[in-house]
Symmetry: C5
């Protein structure tokens, strides 16, 4: 999984079918890169989250034709301790 911080949100009126209810959040990963992750937990800017990528994201959302490859699976507790860089 990737650890990152929510930094923005995107909207797409022109889109393909089978996108479930939720938000497209932009997340900056620990390493500095940015990606768009799908969120069903109601996360907000500044929140530290865990993201799962690949077909696993679509499977959790129901699989089949769901076109999502990055999903926020949790929000990190503030009490989390780690020898972070």
């Amino acid at each position: 999984m990737i650890r990152g911080r929510v930094v923005g949100r995107y909207w797409a009126t022109k889109k393909i079918e089978h996108i479930p209810s939720g938000a497209f959040l932009e997340v900056e990963s620990h390493g500095g890169g940015r990606m768009i992750a799908f969120d069903v937990l109601g996360c907000g800017e500044g929140e530290d989250v865990l993201i799962v990528t690949g077909s696993t994201a679509a499977s959790w959302l129901g699989g089949g034709k769901i076109p999502i490859d990055a999903l926020i699976i949790g929000s990190l507790d503030e009490t989390t301790k780690s020898k972070s860089k």
Copy 2:
């Protein structure tokens, strides 16, 4: 998902079977890299899009033998706000 901007289009007369109807668009990602994504929405150059990659792209297109691993799932609204770099 990857956020990027459409910068070109490719054609392939010599190709394998089971490629669906659509366009091969070149997209420059936010991070600077380039990839070829399949488009069924009719996106054009300069448009900001969201791309899903991996087997999820083929699944949305019908799965099975469809040889596509990158699909444009939406075009970003101009009103989208984000603390972009």
Copy 3:
């Protein structure tokens, strides 16, 4: 598989469903990057581990809706020899 060393642990009280029992460990890979891997072996900080990523991780855990894409599959023996950089 990726070889890495456990450097921390994360907790997520706010999370989606279908996350199995286990720990979210932060691992620093041989190349220097960091990722979060799911652990069911009870690994601790400083331990050198092997990590499998992608849908293979979810499949081992039972597949279906399990939202995990990185799993520690083993802890490297201290007697392991390699021409490491």
Copy 4:
């Protein structure tokens, strides 16, 4: 998909089972990296090709035990136009 140019070919007499008929071509991607892609179209050195990666490549070839994760799906037309870097 990845866009690249064929730069070489490899043979493997010692190999596992279930590798289909075709060639292992070395391709230099637009970004400069190199990979080995499986080819069933008879592409040659200097040809610009599109490559699909991951389980999608194996699925097109028949799925199951086929151990191929990169497949050339087409050869780019010379008339292709793009704002290439």
Copy 5:
């Protein structure tokens, strides 16, 4: 597929279930990075190999709960010719 050279071997006494018979070999890829690939061909140090990654590796080994995401599919012939960097 990735082309690389075998540079070491790892053992893991403490491991999860469903790991098949074979060896965990460390491989240095053409680009310089290192990864651990599963080997059933009996490859040794210094051998140039082709590696398939992702769920395709597990599928060849039988699929289901097999937690392997990188598999050596062949050893490159010495007579192989390529415009290598």
